[in-house]
């Protein structure tokens, strides 16, 4: 659906995007993650055709974005971080304006407005002037505006950041629903839980570079920490000496009845570790392979990107 190759953007001598590349598959939900100032919004703004770029290529459905930007943008919807509207209009008037820009007829516009107002829960406020809306209401109206022309690809920049927990959940459910309707979603957020909940793939961006781009499951497996946490009923005295001789063993940390076993070869350890522990004659109350969540991976990557 979307292919970005060696995308570059600079403001004067400051290089904001350093030749980033990634691909978004049709119908997927793609998470774009990164600390503040990483270049997420700049990337979004380029992809939404709002700012120019200094190098690289963007292909939307195989077509060159540079050559055919305005036409290709008809397939796109964009929700900026802080959406701005014509405050003197009502939500219905604004969405009618967006619908007309997209070439929809009056009947389709009317149907789409009532559909979307229901979804974003603004039906009661749909005839009020937007200047009187709260931040959350504007965010929800922005979502409706971004999706109004039934885009094939929608860019959402921090769509849940201004919402309360209930509103956040509703928006996430709505985004999940978009996958079922075949819409491709590309969204950035600093809320890692949101990415874990709805995304199929994720890119982590830092300092204008993509540190990693992968399927969420692959990422978790790739960055899994090779540590087993075992809790015994009694203190496992001398266990570290007995484990030392094993070829896949790296180190053992014992803290009373809790043991952290660091292994150098996870595949080998998986097959043998339970047998070794069972021989201890000390009942095991807890056994766990320490799993990384996205937050661990994010922090590790962003803080140590030079070691990747």
């Amino acid at each position: 659906m979307l292919r970005v190759e060696n995308l570059k953007k600079q403001y004067g001598s400051l290089q904001v995007l350093k030749e980033i590349s990634f691909e978004v598959k049709k119908g997927s939900i793609y998470g774009f993650l990164g600390p503040n100032g990483a270049g997420k919004t700049t990337t979004m703004n380029i992809l939404a055709g709002l700012i120019d770029f200094n190098g690289g290529d963007i292909y939307l459905d195989g077509e060159d974005f540079k050559k055919n930007k305005r036409e290709l943008l008809k397939k796109v919807g964009y929700l900026p971080q802080s959406p701005v509207f014509y405050g003197y209009m009502t939500a219905v008037e604004y969405l009618t304006f967006i619908g007309k820009l997209g070439g929809m007829d009056n009947k389709s516009i009317k149907i789409r407005i009532s559909e979307l107002m229901e979804i974003v829960k603004l039906t009661d406020a749909s005839k009020r002037r937007i200047s009187g809306y709260s931040g959350g209401m504007k965010q929800r109206l922005g979502l409706a505006a971004a999706l109004f022309n039934n885009p094939e690809l929608v860019f959402l920049d921090e769509p849940t950041s201004a919402l309360d927990p209930e509103g956040r959940m509703e928006v996430l459910e709505f985004i999940e629903g978009l996958r079922e309707s075949g819409t491709t979603v590309f969204f950035s957020t600093h809320i890692l839980n949101d990415i874990e909940r709805v995304c199929d793939e994720v890119s982590i961006l830092s300092g204008g570079k993509i540190l990693v781009s992968d399927n969420l499951e692959n990422l978790k497996n790739k960055y899994i920490q090779p540590i087993y946490d075992v809790e015994f009923e009694m203190n496992p005295t001398g266990l570290d000496n007995r484990l030392k001789s094993l070829p896949w063993m790296q180190k053992t940390i014992i803290n009373e009845n809790k043991v952290s076993i660091y292994v150098s070869n996870l595949e080998k350890a998986k097959g043998e570790i339970l047998g070794v522990i069972a021989k201890e004659n000390n009942p095991v109350t807890c056994f766990n392979l320490r799993k990384s969540n996205l937050e661990d991976i994010f922090i590790r990557l962003v803080n140590n990107d030079e070691n990747l």
Binding site: A48, L50, L72, G77, Y78, P83
Partner: protein
């Protein structure tokens, strides 16, 4: 392009109604059409008690003089209403990020620029003609003397409309480059003052937009063709550059 043009044309009408732009432009152009003849009629009476002697000799008010007086007020004051009302027409949209949704859904910048320019040129032209009609009507009622021909007055209205049209295209052009609309308005105002002086120059005088005002005072199109053609070409260049600028400008 037509889709964007139509949507933005309707949006400009709504915006002008709700943000009182029509009222502002109307006040700037129409109020003098009523006030000028009335003031010219009442001034001798008002001053009669203030100045001793016969003041009627001080005021040789003819209908033609009243029309010229209205033109003077339109150029000096009405023009300010036009320029300052429209200074932020593009800069405000760009810098307050209101173009994000339209641009990201594939709107054509040419449609946006043309909708704005054509809308305001039409509005100001309608108000100008309306203003001259009102002024002509009141001058006929209030001021004694030989009335200028209706055709002559309509010629003045046409020349004034060209003058305002040029200023509108210039202010829209500048508005696409500046951050604050007021800066665009002041630059147009300054250029108007320069043109007022430059109109006296032999070689370039006939190309100055202010030449149209001189012709409007004479209520004649004589020798105005070259000025009209020149400012139309320059206005089109301004509009073209504005479209190019709006196609490149970063709206976020």
């Amino acid at each position: 392009m037509m889709r964007t043009f139509n949507s933005y044309f309707k949006k400009e009408i709504m915006e002008s109604l709700r943000q009182y732009r029509y009222i502002t432009l109307g006040v700037g152009i129409l109020v003098f059409a009523i006030l000028d003849p009335l003031m010219l009629k009442l001034l001798p009476t008002i001053l009669k008690d203030q100045i001793p002697g016969d003041v009627s000799s001080l005021f040789n008010v003819t209908p033609s003089y009243a029309v010229i007086n209205y033109i003077k007020d339109l150029v000096n004051i009405g023009n300010l209403f036009v320029i300052f009302t429209l200074g932020g027409i593009l800069s405000e949209e760009i810098h307050s990020q209101k173009l994000v949704f339209p641009y990201s859904s594939g709107s054509k910048p040419s449609g946006i620029v043309l909708a704005k320019v054509i809308h305001y040129i039409l509005v100001v032209t309608i108000f100008t003609f309306l203003g001259f009609l009102i002024a002509y009507y009141y001058i006929g009622i209030l001021i004694k003397g030989d009335m200028p021909t209706f055709t002559g007055v309509m010629k003045s209205a046409t020349l004034l409309s060209f003058y305002f049209g040029f200023n509108i295209s210039l202010v829209v052009f500048l508005s696409s480059f500046v951050k604050k609309g007021i800066a665009a308005s002041f630059i147009v105002l300054l250029s108007n003052f320069v043109a007022m002086g430059a109109v006296k120059l032999k070689v370039i005088g006939k190309y100055m937009p202010y030449k149209l005002i001189e012709k409007a005072n004479l209520m004649s199109f004589e020798d105005a063709g070259i000025t009209i053609s020149f400012i139309c070409i320059v206005s089109m260049i301004f509009i073209l550059i504005t479209i190019l600028r709006m196609s490149k400008v970063e709206v976020i």
